[in-house]
């Protein structure tokens, strides 16, 4: 298993996109961890006499409209966004797999209803779901996670369905079922491994879109609540002044862009790296494992 993992990572590293995304995502996790114990300036500190300051030794990227340090807020924001991305991907993945299981079920009523239900629900805009959720929940991380997880989960299920269906109706699954394999066993033992490349690409796209959604929803006032650092918060509080202080908008914008690009490239690179056809190292490991 470790050998497999090593083969995948080294394959990722050999690809330019993979290397870029590994570096960015690694930094992201590292900065998030560091921000828990240290930021260049205390997060809550504001200074009304030093608002919209230009970058300096004290404030590496300057200050915002309350005199708060932009670097510190971006660093602290990275952990909020990381949390949102992880929760959203988990939620979307779980929902997606559940729907795939339903859509490939042997019970044709369940399968057909779930296909129709997914097609109908996928037409509801994510942003509308978020706005509706914000009514009872107010501005909160849960709004982003549930709205995005719901939307991306549906999308994931629909994209992965054809391939999942091929597997589910294949001869080896038929024989596994006739040997008494349970539905859960079929799903995780046969379907998931076969659609893994699609799953990984879709989930990494979801992760990137979740970062964008966090910015957008926070700007609309239904995302991350005020006082919680996030990249969307940094954007929302500075974007009104883009004509006067464009630099303060540039930094969070740049962070969001770089991370979203990295997540998208990561998905592509990972799909190639986990696919034995595209990754000879993985084939070698597989051969060694069967021989051992």
């Amino acid at each position: 298993m470790m050998a497999r993992f090593g083969a995948i990572v080294s394959s990722l590293w050999r690809r330019a996109g993979g290397r870029f995304s590994l570096v960015v995502l690694g930094l992201w996790v590292l900065v998030s961890l560091v921000s828990l114990v240290w930021t260049p300036q205390p997060l809550w500190r504001t200074d009304g006499y030093d608002v919209w300051a230009a970058p300096s030794a004290e404030h590496w990227l300057g200050t915002d409209g309350t005199g708060a340090d932009i670097v510190s807020w971006l660093m602290a924001g990275s952990r909020t966004d990381l949390l949102i991305v992880i929760l959203t991907v988990l939620f979307a993945g779980a929902l997606g797999l559940l729907l795939i299981a339903a859509m490939t079920a042997r019970n044709s009523v369940l399968a057909n209803t779930s296909v129709v239900a997914v097609d109908a629900l996928i037409s509801v805009p994510t942003i509308l779901i978020a706005l509706i959720l914000a009514v009872p929940l107010g501005a909160s991380v849960a709004v982003i996670v549930v709205a995005c997880g719901f939307g991306y989960g549906l999308n994931l299920a629909r994209v992965a369905r054809p391939q999942a269906l091929l597997v589910a109706r294949s001869a080896y699954v038929e024989s596994a079922v006739s040997n008494g394999a349970s539905g859960v066993r079929v799903l995780f033992g046969h379907i998931v491994p076969n659609i893994l490349p699609v799953l990984l690409v879709q989930l990494s796209l979801s992760a990137g879109t979740a970062v964008l959604a966090e910015s957008g929803l926070t700007y609309l006032g239904v995302g991350v609540p005020s006082g919680t650092p996030s990249w969307g918060h940094s954007l929302a509080t500075t974007v009104r002044f883009i004509t006067v202080y464009p630099l303060t908008v540039l930094w969070p914008g740049l962070v969001v862009t770089v991370v979203v690009v990295a997540l998208n490239l990561f998905g592509d690179a990972l799909r190639d790296a986990v696919d034995p056809v595209g990754n000879p190292a993985l084939r070698r490991v597989a051969v060694e494992e069967t021989e051992a």
Binding site: W44, R45, T46, D47, G48, Y49, V51, W52, G65, T66, G67, A68, G138, A139, G221, P225, S226, G227, H233, A236, T237, R240, F241, I242, T243, V244, Y245
Partner: protein, 534 residues
């Protein structure tokens, strides 16, 4: 660029009509009378086209003389024009003094000045006001405006309890003693009456006019509403038959509403509007730096950013906590972060209202004192008190962030919730479920809030209530002002709230614009004196 592609629509139209009128003129001597009708119709079309072309061009590069049109950018748009029923200061701002006029008006220092009434007397007991009206007044539709219209307007307002009727406290009756004299009687003195009459309740409307109040307005003012587009724009044209001294200096004033600050600033920079009020202070620098083209000025106003303390709250009922918060807030720093145009305010009465006193020394910024007060109440930075600050998202997140930062220094953990206005209305205003809240109370003469124990502040001071009642009953302005000042000082000393600052509206205009009011221009915006020379 070719002229044949039809892009220059107005040039083509002018040429066509010129040809047509020439043809018509050639034919007239030989034709029967209906030819004259054709000629007249064609001439009318030519004139209309000419006027339209002239008007659309006049905004541009007329070398000398005042422009026919001034375009003004404002922020809050009225949804309809029904000044009797629709609330919101956007209506007062655009209609009072421009389209409608009241018995009396207010000047740029918030003082009562003559309008439809040229003078008035108040009886010694403060119960009878006699107004002497100007003579030969007319509404814009030609109807005569006399004492009967005044009496009808105010009776109608009171009978139907239209918007703002409540500010005519103690109203008993109104009657015309002759065509130009009106007598208003009160059941008890109301020292606020004259000022109240400068607002909606003093307006005089034409009882005989037949119009849709939602989209039209017929008044006696210097301007007519010629076009109204809800939430977008209002076009005012000069009333050619205006009776009084405020004759409009500019024939057409177009008011455009910009909800988005950046769009507003772009409109001023590109010359789409010549005036912008308000302009967000942080966005005004580009105009401040360009002194040759623009003037940027902040005007005094009555906007009070009130950090309300729930006087019946679990923790904020303790006066030591409230005092500590007042001492811990660095008002100068907050004002500096906003660009330094706002004024410090230590109590509930702003400088343009009666009873104003500088109360900024009641609780000066003093962290040691604040910490000592918190320690007395049992809290410190190591053992912080958590308080919730809930306010509407229209005020932005910055103030909450700053307050959290400042109060942290004295051991208060501020949990800031920025919510939709409707949520705020429900939680704070209606249910009083809050510790701290932040509101811009922009009304003038609104001290009644502190004398009403049922207001959302939960502030109940019999002494303040008594002083305010006596101030209302005062028959002499100096006495009223002194009583209000005493009451305001008590409210401030009780730390019933903290007044973060007195917001001053910044306006910016092209240097060719003259006569634009700077003070109080978000509540009433008289435009008759405004001119623009390109």
């Amino acid at each position: 660029m070719s002229d044949t592609n039809g892009a220059h629509g107005d040039a083509g139209a002018t040429a066509a009509s010129t040809d047509a009128s020439l043809n018509a003129r050639v034919k007239t001597p030989h034709r029967r009378p209906w030819g004259w009708i054709v000629l007249a119709a064609v001439a009318a079309v030519a004139i209309v086209v000419g006027v339209v072309v002239g008007v659309t061009r006049s905004g541009g590069d007329r070398a000398a003389g005042a422009s026919d049109t001034v375009t003004i950018g404002l922020k809050l748009a009225p949804t309809n024009l029904d000044i009797r029923n629709q609330s919101g200061s956007a209506l007062d701002q655009i209609l009072i003094g421009n389209v409608y006029e009241g018995l009396v008006a207010r000047d740029e220092n918030n003082q009562v000045v003559p309008a439809l009434a040229s003078s008035w007397e108040e009886s010694a007991d403060g119960l009878t006001y006699t107004f002497h009206l100007n003579e030969n007044m007319t509404f814009s539709n030609g109807d005569v405006l006399d004492a009967e219209d005044v009496v009808w307007s105010i009776r109608d307002l009171v009978d139907n309890q239209y918007h703002d009727a409540s500010s005519l406290a103690n109203f008993e009756s109104i009657a015309a003693t002759d065509a130009n004299t009106v007598e208003l009687r009160l059941s008890a003195p109301n020292s606020n009456l004259l000022w109240a009459l400068t607002g909606r309740c003093g307006l005089v409307l034409d009882r005989d006019a037949d119009y849709d109040a939602q989209t039209e307005a017929v008044g006696s003012g210097p301007y007519l509403v010629s076009d109204f587009r809800a939430n977008d724009s209002i076009t005012l044209t000069a009333n050619p038959d205006y009776w009084g001294g405020h004759q409009a200096k500019t024939p057409t004033v177009v008011v455009r509403y910009f909800a988005d600050d950046n769009a507003a600033v772009n409109a001023l920079a590109s010359g789409d509007v010549q005036v912008l009020a308000p302009i967000s202070d942080s966005l005004a620098d580009q105009f401040r730096e360009n002194e040759e083209r623009y003037t940027v000025k902040a005007g005094d106003g009555t906007d009070k950013y009130v950090l309300a303390f729930n006087s019946a709250g679990e923790h904020t009922a303790d006066i030591r906590i409230r005092q500590a918060i007042r001492c811990a807030i660095n008002h100068d720093e907050i004002i500096a972060s906003r660009g330094g145009t706002d004024a410090a305010l230590g109590g509930p009465i702003p400088s343009l209202d009666p009873g104003y006193e500088d109360l900024t020394d009641v609780y000066p910024y003093d962290l040691d004192r604040a910490r000592a007060l918190m320690a007395e109440a049992g809290y410190s930075q190591d053992n912080p008190l958590t308080l919730r600050l809930e306010y509407a998202n229209t005020y932005g997140t910055e103030l909450g962030d700053q307050l959290r930062s400042q109060l942290r220094e004295i051991g208060i953990d501020l949990d800031v919730e920025v919510v939709e206005f409707s949520t705020w209305l429900q939680d704070v205003y209606t249910n009083r479920d809050y510790d701290l809240s932040l509101v811009d109370h922009n009304e003038s003469h609104d001290f009644y809030q502190w004398a009403d124990p049922d207001y959302y502040y939960n502030y109940d001071s019999p002494e303040v209530q008594d002083l305010y009642a006596r101030a209302l009953a005062a028959t002499d302005d100096a006495e009223r002002d002194a009583l209000l000042a005493r009451a305001a000082r008590i409210v401030s000393q009780d730390a019933a709230a903290d007044w973060l600052f007195n917001y001053r509206v910044t306006s910016a205009w092209d240097n060719g614009v003259e006569g634009f009011p700077v003070n109080l221009n978000q509540t009433q915006l008289p435009l008759w004196d405004v001119t623009y020379t390109a």
